[in-house]
């Protein structure tokens, strides 16, 4: 819907589409997928973000339905791709779990979010 046109002093309006780079790291996708149901307990939660993040200031944790933390506490940024954040999971009993992430993108902006997934036997 949005027409993109030359700003500033240019009198000519061009209609082109450009993809703007996002300075905030938002959730692109996750495994287990947001709101999905897995058969069996997944070994890890991995989230892909839209921007690279700083390991020193990024965290991710998984809690169960009662709010108790269940992940292994080894949240880390993938050394080969700083857009991926993972944390390992022990064998989880069936139920609903909540993933909460808080990251700082490489250009210093903080974002956070959460989602749930279900584990079925």
């Amino acid at each position: 819907m949005q027409k993109r046109s030359l700003p500033l002093l240019a009198a000519v309006a061009l209609a082109l589409g450009t993809a703007a780079a996002f300075a905030h790291a938002f959730l692109d996708r996750a495994s287990p997928a947001v709101g999905s149901t897995t058969h069996g307990s997944p070994p890890e939660v991995r989230i892909w973000l839209t921007q690279g993040v700083e390991p020193a200031f990024s965290t991710i944790e998984v809690t169960d339905a009662s709010g108790k933390r269940v992940d292994k506490g080894n949240a880390s940024v993938d050394p080969n791709d700083n857009k991926q954040l993972t944390v390992s999971l022990p064998n989880l009993p069936p139920g609903t779990y909540k993933v909460t992430w808080r990251v700082t993108s490489v250009d210093t902006h903080q974002t956070s979010g959460n989602f749930t997934f279900k584990v079925e036997p």
């Binding site: 949005q2 046109s5 700003p7 300075a23 999905s36 897995t38 903080q110």
Partner: protein, 679 residues
């Protein structure tokens, strides 16, 4: 805009103002002072005085740069760690920022350059003889350039990746250096003008004249580069005129441009009127002295404006780039040419407007050339009339949210929630199927609109959001912001989109028709005993045959499709079969299929969303939900064909289905359906 923002802006502004001085001083020395002295007198007594002033200015800027570095690191640490300001100063947090983050590493390099530059400048100041320190001055100038240009790595232009990212950083570096060369050279220039006015200085006027003559091209080249690279930066960071006027970043940028315009006016006066009069060969000595005073005053004003400009830049750099925000449209109207109907009356007005515009522009140019004051004024009035004439035809109402994007994805889940909200809130007036024939219609002074027209979505999701939230003035349409939360309203808009698409594509049949942008709503599906997938993940890779089935009616068909699976896989087509209902009859059956891999778990969202697409054009109204429906979705994610067994023979012969898929595969690759929402 909280406290941290203002403090960050102040920290950035003060750092920029400091770091501009060293590079600007060297620019003044090499581009303005050196040539000026060469033309007047190489052994001039003022030369060492100017040199000392410039070196001291550069050193002052460098030291201030070091101090403001600490401020900036503190602000960055607070932002990155989320800690309150006093806590962010703790060594472990500052240390983590400096040593473990990309930003921190860049600052470390800059701190090193700052220290080295301070050392070299100190050394140069201690040496008495200018001639021997040329190499040192060049080295210091390079360090100053590096210090200034490296600011590009800590700004928003560093967001990109690959070649495009490098281009953006490069453009920003040129922008910084051009700004430094111009703004940073101004204090030195003012110093030269001030000293030239001292009667004890030999050839004072000539020196001032030569300096002004040298400064002029420096200003022109710098400003040209600034405008060019500024456009590049804004292309990425603002992206559209809408974002320019609809976001805080955009308004700050407009303020920056306004200040720049004032500075350019002053610079133009300096160049066109004052500098020529400094030449004492063409004007009297007294006139030249008065001009020198005026030039010095103007240049001081320019320097002051430059400082204000850098403060605005600090505010700009600390703000979220406009392209990353939802724009709040500040005007009551927007430009809209799609709904334009060209009538003879409109044509006549348009021709009149063009004539007025030409006359207006001609009048302005003539008046400026001939220096009549009233002709440009009259020209402006004509131009205004020319723009006002077609305006009512080209403008439509706009609202603050008109250019918003939906934060909710266009998927089956959202459409189903939207349908529920619609049934509860909208169907009473707009009808169960959106035709504007709800039960309350007779009691309304203005009839509710038919929501299934092709032009519904032309209004824009943001305008629809405003209407749903706050109603339409002058009509019985109420606002629902008290009854539906924000996400529910966006769900409703997604449902309206699906409903309109369904009505507009009601002629879809089993033959693949020429492309129309009917997006197949995204959905989760879980093939039996496998991991969940989404329709979107298949985009770009396979076509999809979506089968909504009921048992026992569809049993034979499912078995036929199961056997046809390999032949369809060869044509890059995946079959996804989802049950229409989840009653007991369905549960038991799937096991009887040979290998139930086309079957996926029951999914009420998919059923709700895709059964919307059961409309047909034969005046029967909306059919009851059929027991079996099949949809062909192409690689790009668009709905291309549909088979309702009750309406035609269609794909009952799988060979016909294969032929239609082959038609699809012959099409040139298409861009996938655009992402309708933003994060």
């Amino acid at each position: 805009m909280d406290t941290l923002y203002f403090l960050s802006a102040a920290a950035r502004a003060s750092h920029y103002a400091s770091v501009v001085l060293p590079f600007g001083s060297f620019t003044c020395a090499f581009v303005v002072a050196r040539p000026a002295f060469r033309r007047v007198s190489n052994e001039h007594a003022e030369r060492p005085k100017l040199r000392r002033f410039l070196l001291r200015l550069a050193l002052g800027g460098t030291v201030a740069g070091a101090a403001t570095t600490v401020l900036n690191l503190w602000m960055t640490a607070a932002g990155m760690s989320g800690q309150p300001l006093p806590d962010a100063l703790r060594p472990e947090i500052l240390g983590a920022v400096l040593t473990q983050t990309k930003f921190g590493h860049i600052w470390l390099v800059r701190i090193f350059v700052t220290a080295l530059l301070a050392a070299v400048l100190g050394f140069l100041l201690l040496r008495r003889r200018e001639k021997e320190s040329l190499a040192g001055e060049c080295f210091a100038a390079l360090l100053a350039a590096a210090l200034l240009a490296s600011l590009a790595y800590i700004g928003h232009s560093n967001d990109g990746t690959g070649a495009e990212g490098a281009f953006r950083v490069g453009a920003d570096m040129v922008h910084l250096l051009a700004a430094g060369a111009w703004l940073g050279a101004l204090p030195g220039f003012v110093f030269m003008l001030a000293r030239a006015g001292d009667p004890k200085v030999r050839y004072g006027l000539r020196l001032a004249h030569e300096a002004a003559v040298q400064f002029s091209p420096l200003g022109i080249v710098s400003v040209s580069l600034l405008l060019l690279t500024g456009t590049v930066n804004s292309w990425y960071l603002v992206g559209s005129v809408i974002a320019l006027v609809g976001t805080t970043y955009g308004w700050i940028l407009l303020l920056k441009l306004g200040i720049l315009a004032i500075m350019l006016t002053v610079a133009a006066i300096n160049r066109q009127r004052l500098t020529p009069r400094l030449d004492s060969s063409s004007s009297s000595a007294r006139d030249a002295r008065a001009t020198l005073q005026a030039l010095r005053r103007n240049s001081t004003i320019e320097t002051g404006l430059g400082l204000i400009l850098l403060c605005v830049v600090g505010a700009l750099v600390a703000a979220t780039p406009a392209a990353h925000e939802e724009p709040l449209w500040p005007f009551p109207y927007q430009l809209d040419t799609v709904g334009l109907v060209v009538t003879p009356e409109l044509e006549a007005k348009f021709i009149l407007a063009v004539l007025l515009a030409l006359g207006g522009i001609g009048g302005i140019i003539w008046g400026l050339l001939k220096r009549f004051w009233w002709t440009p004024l009259g020209g402006l009035v004509m131009l205004g009339a020319a723009l006002a004439l077609p305006a009512p035809y080209l403008l439509t109402d706009a609202y603050p949210t008109s250019f918003y994007h939906s934060p909710v994805a266009y998927d089956a889940e959202s459409i189903r929630r939207g349908e529920q909200a619609y049934d509860a809130n909208c169907s009473a007036c707009h009808g169960a199927y959106g035709y504007g024939d709800g039960r309350l219609v007779d009691s309304l002074p203005i009839k509710p609109s038919d929501l299934t027209g092709a032009h519904l979505l032309h209004h824009g999701a943001g305008t629809l959001f405003w209407w749903i939230s706050y109603g339409i003035e002058g009509t019985p349409m109420p606002g629902f912001d008290d009854r539906l939360d924000v996400d529910a309203r966006w769900d409703t808009i997604n449902f309206l989109r699906a409903q309109t698409d369904a009505e507009q594509s009601n002629g879809m049949d089993a033959a693949v028709e020429p492309f129309r942008p009917i997006v197949a709503p995204d959905f989760f599906f879980q093939p039996l005993n496998q991991n969940q997938e989404t329709l979107k993940s298949l985009r770009g890779r396979t076509n999809v045959l979506l089968v909504l089935y009921s048992l026992p009616d569809s049993m034979a068909r499912l078995e036929a499709l199961e056997s046809a699976k390999p032949s369809l896989a060869v044509l890059d087509t995946r079959i996804i079969a989802i049950a229409m209902t989840t009653d007991a009859a369905t549960e038991g059956q799937p096991g009887s299929l040979a290998s139930p891999s086309i079957l996926a778990d029951a999914n009420p969202d998919v059923v709700a969303a895709y059964t919307l697409f059961r409309r047909v054009p034969t005046g029967e109204g909306v059919l009851p939900v059929p027991r079996h429906m099949e949809f062909l979705i192409d690689r790009a994610g668009y709905l291309r064909a549909r088979w309702l067994p009750s309406e035609e023979k269609g794909w009952s012969d799988v060979a016909i289905l294969r032929r239609e898929i082959e038609t699809l595969n012959k099409e040139p690759p298409r861009e996938p359906a655009p992402e309708g929402h933003v994060h």
